[in-house]
């Protein structure tokens, strides 16, 4: 079986959905003949034409706004941000118009906004964003953040088919670094369902995106000391799989929440708060969060490495909890 990269999984999802459903189209900067800054849409304009693979001016508000207008008319637009950081430029449009459309006036607005996110590539303060938390308190968007090629493809298909707007967060560090065997047939990964990557009984790590590999590494290392770690890949941030989280905590009684965005106000706070309310009786130790520093992403490799969460920090936190 051939191996598919995370990047190709994303392209395949778009291509297959565009073949399946004439309502689906792609809109963004340089997505056409260039095939996207990361070549995510390479070859697509050749197959689908400039009508369905639309190069735009540098105008994120126009991209998200036009996608939203088209969605109201029954289309299924995929709006690409060249880097997910630039969704900040269309923040107003996305949270105020798109996300609220169904609740306010009953008009579903099913767009997918997708683009490369995340750090570890020395992209500096404006090309390293983990955007999920910015949107969590503005209801109406779904948010997914796959960490595997399988999930990237399956979740993107779900997102495109979803009747509501979805922010699809791609981790650019993974684009070409991971390769998997994917099913030949059409499949989807449902939004809102976590994946138990590793089953364990002493401690739960709840995470997503590229941090799942950090969690895996930490779990493998801890396994050497016979510590059994459960790793939950949330995959969907909103809605999130509360049941999976609570069940795991009920089983392990100790939990670390690990994410790449800065600590304060990160999505992890929400998961911690839910656990502290709904699984309080099961907790044998404090809830730990491991996350980036509360600063913008610095550019220089030693600074960025220190800024980002890593295996060692997770292991140290785990040992602390296990001693508790």
């Amino acid at each position: 079986m051939p191996l598919t990269t995370y990047l190709d999984a994303i392209r395949e999802a778009m291509v297959e959905e565009m073949r399946r459903d004439p309502r689906v189209f792609l809109i963004g900067e340089d997505v056409g003949s260039y095939g996207g800054a990361f070549k995510t849409s390479a070859g697509m304009i050749e197959e689908f034409g400039a009508e369905r693979v639309i190069d735009t001016p540098i105008s994120e508000v126009a991209i998200v706004g036009a996608a939203s207008g088209a969605a109201l008319m029954g289309m299924r637009p995929i709006a690409e941000m060249q880097f997910i950081d630039f969704i900040t430029c269309a923040y107003d449009m996305l949270v105020n118009f798109t996300a609220t459309s169904r609740y306010r006036v009953g008009s579903g607005c099913p767009i997918v906004v997708r683009g490369p996110a995340g750090g570890g590539t020395h992209g500096g303060p404006f090309h390293s964003l983990n955007p999920e938390a910015m949107f969590m308190n503005r209801p109406g968007l779904k948010i997914v953040a796959p960490g595997t090629a399988y999930d990237a493809k399956g979740l993107l298909k779900s997102a495109i088919r979803d009747d509501d707007p979805v922010l699809f967060i791609e981790h650019k560090f993974l684009y070409r670094r991971i390769k998997e065997e994917l099913p030949a047939d059409d499949y989807i990964v449902p939004i809102g369902k976590a994946n138990v990557r590793r089953s364990g009984k002493d401690l739960t790590i709840i995470t997503w995106g590229s941090m799942i590999y950090v969690a895996d590494d930490a779990a493998a290392e801890l396994a050497k000391d016979r510590v059994s770690v459960e790793v939950i890949d949330l995959r969907s941030i909103l809605p999130f799989d509360e049941e999976a989280i609570l069940n795991s905590v009920a089983k392990t009684n100790r939990v670390i929440i690990l994410h790449e965005a800065p600590l304060t106000g990160g999505a992890g706070a929400e998961f911690a708060a839910r656990i502290a309310e709904k699984a309080f009786d099961y907790l044998d130790a404090p809830i730990k969060r491991i996350a980036a520093l509360d600063v913008p992403t610095p550019y220089s490799p030693p600074l960025e490495a220190f800024y980002l969460p890593d295996r060692e920090k997770v292991i140290a936190a785990a040992r602390e909890l296990l001693r508790y």
Partner: protein
């Protein structure tokens, strides 16, 4: 009795002209009713009048063909345009009264309602400028779907200072989308005169930044506004792309009911009172021998009757059940499918 002044009606029949007058009167009557309801504290939230601007709202929207799927996007002062597109007065009153069976079931204010593909008009959001990119997307979808629909967006002098307006206009123009944008220059944005909003001599000049067609029209001249809008709609439908029409008019009331517009020179108010678009339009029809005072009386009493009925219906409507607030955010909970 003088002989009638010949009138260029731009292809509008007598029936059309009287229908336009009906929409003008309906708009004014309905707004006056809303003022009364506002004073009785039955309108929840603010009330934003279009007095003196009904002409351009109605005339421009009348240039669309809703049977073809055309979509009009009003801002707060364009109630007239959605009445033309087919909005029911009772729905508008219910919206203002935040009733359970209003189109948005009490979630949204005033004329923030309407689905473009179903209603021929679309509910705006408050963030000024944002509807231009959205309308570009509607026009884009229409083209992709091989429908020959045209979109029409209203925007204020103030709102035309927003980045969203600019990005939407630029995108629509470079994509040659079927979009007509009516830039209502009514002298003020809240308390800010147009001279503090922009240094351009004519707001129609903004078109040069996009390379789209443009013209300036007397927004208080109903027939001239209709003609300009019609030209633009035809251009759009023929594939000629975007037109920006500056409609010069005047906001005869404050920004909203709470604002006595003391910042507006009295002379300006007097000057524009004399140019009332409805009175002027009716006079033109009379002078041309197309209509008589009796026609207008009938129209006015029809408008009043309909507004009375709408008010009665709205007043009888219940307020929403509190628990509903939790529903209808996402598809699948059945909320929006329930009949009202």
């Amino acid at each position: 009795m003088t002989s009638p002044t010949p009138l260029e009606t731009h292809g509008l029949t007598r029936e059309n002209l009287l229908e336009i007058d009906y929409f003008l009167r309906l708009t004014r009557t309905l707004e006056e009713r809303l003022v009364a309801l506002f004073r009785q504290s039955k309108v929840i939230g603010g009330l934003y009048r279009s007095l003196g601007q009904e002409g351009e709202s109605v005339a421009a929207a009348y240039a669309l063909d809703y049977a073809l799927g055309d979509v009009v996007q009003p801002l707060i002062r364009n109630m007239g345009s959605i009445l033309v597109a087919g909005a029911k007065p009772s729905d508008i009153v219910k919206q203002y009264m935040a009733k359970a069976d209003s189109p948005t079931r009490g979630r949204e204010l005033n004329i923030h309602f309407g689905h473009p593909a179903r209603d021929g008009f679309i509910g705006q959001i408050s963030m000024l400028g944002d509807m231009i990119p959205v309308m570009a997307g509607i026009a884009l979808a229409g083209r992709m779907q091989k429908r020959h629909l045209v979109g029409m967006a209203f925007i204020g002098d103030g709102a035309s200072s927003t980045g969203a307006f600019y990005e939407g206009m630029n995108f629509a123009t470079v994509q040659r989308l079927p979009l007509v944008v009516i830039l209502e220059n009514n002298g003020y944005a809240y308390s800010t005169p147009t001279s503090k909003q922009s240094a351009v001599r004519s707001l129609a000049d903004k078109a040069h930044a996009f390379g789209c067609a443009s013209e300036t029209v007397d927004g208080n001249d109903v027939l001239a506004t209709y003609a300009a809008a019609r030209r633009a709609v035809e251009r759009a439908r023929a594939g000629g792309g975007v037109t920006l029409i500056e409609a010069k008019t005047f906001r005869m009331k404050g920004h909203a009911e709470h604002d006595n517009q003391s910042y507006v020179p009295q002379s300006l108010i007097e000057e524009w009172s004399a140019k009332d678009p409805v009175v002027r339009f009716e006079k033109t029809l009379v002078d041309a021998g197309i209509a008589t005072a009796a026609d207008f009386e009938m129209i006015q009493s029809r408008a009043k009757r309909e507004v009375d009925a709408a008010t009665d219906e709205a007043e009888r409507s219940p307020m929403p059940n509190p628990e509903e607030a939790a529903r209808g955010l996402f598809a699948g909970d059945g909320f929006w499918e329930e009949q009202r």
